[in-house]
């Protein structure tokens, strides 16, 4: 019997499990199957491919759009991984993005954030987004420790509530809907003031990547360090593996559950804040557009690794952008991109299963 060494260091090998080669081949296999499907529905494969490449890497703007999507996926995914250390499954990213977006809009438009001194006009709405997401995430935690509600159910149901809350906010003039000047006024909020928009990294609108990118990189590093180097990381792990033994050892189960889900929620809220303040600039129905669920999948596929989350988030971000362009230019339905994304999940999960069986 060989001894298993518990790996505690920030070990690069742990960060890129399951083996990179197998992950890449799984993605390649899924991509090939996608091409077969495109061929089968009668679209010229070269046209579709060139549209895909144009939509992802074809222009600085396309790259920036892909990165902005990836940021949201990554934040939700990192939150998922943190909660998962405590053996919790947060499927509420979608709702956390929505409440984050609502809070950021409200503070940016009506909270007086625009007139604050330099930096604060966008930092305060971001903070509001995080707090809103944190509360939305912590509620299932409280429900779990008080009455034992399974967090998978409660985070999911709270997502639906948040999505409809957002609908209500943009439909009701008493809430965030812009003033009704005519019957044709769209159900959306006013555009946020310029000072509350996130600064662009290059200052150039043809490459609209904002400060969300460096912020997300920093958050990823902090999350990696938190999980591997701090007492909190060990305590989350302890609760995740054996909550009874952890609690006997004085690690509060209640505190860990609320904290882990709260952090995951805060990151989801922040993702919503970045999307609103850095990309969309106004709130409308369907704002969260399924990003919460894509982020969840990124977190799931990463199997506990923060670097894995980043990789999966980038993959999905570029895939989404390319897919949209394929639809517009080559007439490939977006649904097909969803199918390919699903295929990637299945092949990666299958590959992971085989890796697990082999070792």
């Amino acid at each position: 019997m060989t001894d298993t060494v518990v790996n505690n260091r920030l070990d690069i090998r742990e960060w890129v499990r399951p083996s990179v080669a197998i992950s890449i081949s799984a993605v390649a296999v899924a991509g090939l199957l996608g091409l077969v499907l495109i061929f089968a529905i009668g679209v010229s494969v070269p046209d579709a491919l060139s549209a895909f490449v144009d939509g992802t890497l074809g222009s600085p703007y396309a790259i920036a759009a892909s990165i902005n999507r990836s940021i949201a996926f990554a934040l939700v995914g990192i939150g998922f991984v943190i909660a998962n250390r405590a053996n919790l499954v947060n499927v509420g990213g979608e709702g956390q993005i929505a409440v984050g977006g609502i809070a950021a809009t409200a503070v940016a438009l009506y909270g007086g954030a625009a007139d604050l001194p330099a930096g604060l006009p966008f930092l305060v709405p971001l903070l509001a987004a995080m707090i809103a997401g944190m509360i939305w995430g912590a509620i299932p935690g409280v429900l779990k420790i008080k009455v034992g509600t399974n967090e998978v159910i409660s985070t999911l149901l709270l997502s639906f509530i948040a999505v409809w809350l957002l609908y209500w906010c943009v439909q009701s003039p008493a809430l965030l809907r812009k003033p009704m000047t005519s019957s044709a006024t769209l159900p959306e909020s006013l555009e946020i003031p310029d000072s509350t928009k996130l600064p662009l990294l290059t200052g150039d609108y043809s490459f609209p990547v904002n400060i969300g990118l460096p912020a997300t990189i920093i958050i990823a590093i902090v999350a990696g360090v938190l999980l591997s180097k701090t007492l909190l990381g060990v305590q989350l792990r302890a609760v995740g593996f054996n909550s009874v033994a952890a609690s006997r050892a004085g690690i509060s189960y209640a505190r860990m559950v609320v904290l882990a889900l709260g952090i995951a929620g805060a990151l989801g809220g922040l993702a919503g804040g970045f999307m609103l303040l850095g990309d969309q600039y106004l709130l409308k129905d369907g704002f969260s557009s399924g990003y919460g669920f894509d982020g969840l999948v990124a977190g799931l596929l990463a199997r506990g690794s923060v670097v894995g989350v980043i990789a999966a988030a980038l993959l999905f971000g570029f895939l989404r952008s390319g897919g949209i362009n394929m639809e517009m230019v080559a007439g490939v339905p977006t649904a097909l991109v969803m199918v390919i994304q699903g295929l990637i999940v299945v092949t990666l999960a299958g590959a992971a299963y085989f890796i697990g069986r082999r070792s």
């Binding site: 298993t4 060494v5 007492l231 792990r237 054996n242 609690s247």
Partner: protein, 524 residues
């Protein structure tokens, strides 16, 4: 130790050079063994010696990798328990397989008959059988209402009704009261007298003295000794089993095996010379569970500093609830607990630890440790915050301190970074003890079933550490279902029955019968 009887009688079952591997582990290596009709043949060995593997090979649960088995001279190669049963081999497993909502007779009929069932005829057969073997059994009693000993009799009857030629019992006495053990051994004797062979697996020598005709000793999967005069050669058998001298063995550990006189080895001053304030005061502790059943009923006890009080009783009589309340895992329905002047009744585990209460939980894997985490993390699990600065874990320091404790408590592992699951049960328990006993302000040590599943060497080490804690003036509460263990380690014993204290007596071997009676619920 060649057995002359072997030449006279043809063996019922003969194993020749049987080897069984599980992965890289050799569970049984070239074991040869003859079982004669009409004998009680004991298989003796420590945990992990290969006893259960041997039983499972005979019963067809596993197939041997090498070697052969012969039943009455013919090759015997069972591929499952049904083959074994068809060949006249029956087995009582360590864990019972009874349907709790059903009656005794229904459980016996299960798997024996198809189609229409004449329950009354079966019940009559059962009663006759029980009568023949000298015990009583109500065929229409529900399993739920039976004691553990009675449930085991149901298992035995399930086997005997098949009139087996070979009857295998795997560690049958672990869960029984003293008089139930005597009755079980008597049944084994009767079965053998009827011409069948009985294979009795055990690690208790007292049973061998009483019941065995012949003994085979296993160690590390090999047959290391045989004897056809077990009562006369007991010392040699123990030496073979543990590969050491009985004399060198810790006296208390030896007595739990049934070797030597049970008797406490007292270190330090005898208690009670100057009246000392009680270290622990438990007042009328009562636990009523969610179903309204009273699990612990007005438990009252005072423990002085440096005193070891044993709690005896068959498992499931309130011991778990008592331990859970004292360790801060369960809120009692009534009653109070004081540690010196500090009331700890409503404190959580963290505060309990901070107050200086060390806890060795009965269920090591569920409560005592986190097997997926490292040895170092486990050994300091309740005070990891002592190794942090600004929230960061000072891992080097943690590993270093863990290495020290591992050396002091003889925790054998490849290193502090090894996963806890890679340790043997004994080493895991030593690590848990190390964590709980080295609490800087230890005033009360609660140890529940601390030696369960450990081999003799580890048992001796655990006793040594418990005594060391008591020498440092900690009060110790030792909960154990092994009466010998309590006799060997405790100063005095209280007996729990259905959540109540049935009585209080000295840890004196002469009290054994009285304690046995109280464990069975008879007030003394």
């Amino acid at each position: 130790m060649r057995d002359p009887a072997q030449t006279l009688t043809e063996p019922l079952l003969a194993l020749q050079g049987v080897t069984k591997r599980f992965g890289s582990l050799v569970a049984l290596s070239k074991a040869s063994l003859d079982i004669l009709p009409g004998e009680v043949h004991c298989i003796l060995g420590e945990n992990g010696a290969g006893k259960s593997t041997l039983c499972n090979l005979i019963f067809g649960v596993h197939v041997p990798d090498k070697g052969e088995m012969r039943l009455r001279g013919e090759i015997y190669r069972p591929t499952g328990p049904s083959d074994a049963l068809a060949s006249g081999i029956a087995m009582v497993h360590q864990h019972f397989s009874l349907v709790h909502d059903m009656t005794v007779v229904d459980n016996v009929i299960l798997g024996q008959q198809r189609g229409l069932v004449n329950t009354r005829a079966w019940a009559q057969r059962l009663e006759r059988l029980a009568n023949d073997y000298g015990f009583a059994l109500d065929p229409y009693a529900k399993i739920d209402d039976l004691s553990v000993g009675e449930r085991q009799r149901v298992e035995i009857v399930k086997c005997l009704i098949r009139e087996p030629r070979l009857f295998v019992l795997d560690e049958p006495t672990a869960v029984l009261l003293p008089d139930e053990i005597a009755s079980l051994l008597a049944i084994c004797g009767r079965v053998a007298a009827g011409g069948a062979a009985v294979v009795l697996v055990t690690h208790k020598l007292a049973e061998i003295k009483k019941a065995a005709n012949r003994v085979t000793v296993l160690r590390g999967g090999r047959v290391v000794a045989r004897s056809s005069d077990p009562a006369g050669e007991i010392d040699a058998l123990v030496r073979a089993m543990i590969q050491g001298d009985v004399k060198a063995l810790d006296r208390s550990a030896a007595s739990t095996l049934g070797v030597g006189e049970p008797g406490r080895v007292r270190i330090g001053d005898p208690p009670g010379e100057t009246p000392t304030p009680e270290a622990v005061q438990i007042d009328g502790l009562t636990v009523i569970d969610s179903q309204g059943v009273t699990r612990l009923d007005h438990f009252t006890l005072a423990i002085g500093p440096g005193e070891i009080v044993g709690v005896a009783g068959v498992e499931g009589n309130g011991q778990s609830e008592l331990a859970a309340v004292l360790s801060g895992m369960l809120e009692p329905s009534r009653g109070r607990v004081f540690l010196g002047d500090l009331e700890t009744t409503h404190l959580g585990p963290k505060e309990i630890t901070a107050a200086g209460i060390g806890v060795v939980p009965e269920d090591r894997h569920a409560v005592g440790c986190i097997v997926e985490m490292s040895v170092a993390e486990n050994i300091f699990l309740n005070r990891l915050d002592g190794f942090t600065s600004f929230g960061f874990l000072r891992r080097k320091e943690l590993v270093h301190a863990a290495r020290d404790l591992m050396a002091r408590f003889d925790v054998r592992a490849a290193g502090p970074d090894i996963a806890f699951s890679a340790l043997s049960g004994g080493n895991q328990q030593k690590a848990v003890l190390a964590r709980e006993i080295t609490l800087p302000n230890l005033t009360f040590l609660l140890a529940a079933q601390p030696t369960r599943g450990l081999d003799v060497g580890a048992v001796a080490a655990v006793y040594g550490h418990i005594r060391a804690a008591c020498q440092r003036d900690a009060a110790v509460l030792l909960i154990s279902s092994e009466l010998d263990e309590l006799m060997a380690v405790a100063d005095r014993i209280v007996v729990l029955y259905r959540g109540r204290i049935m009585g209080n007596c000295a840890a004196d071997p002469r009290e054994r019968e009285r304690i046995g009676a109280m464990m069975a619920g008879q007030a003394q």
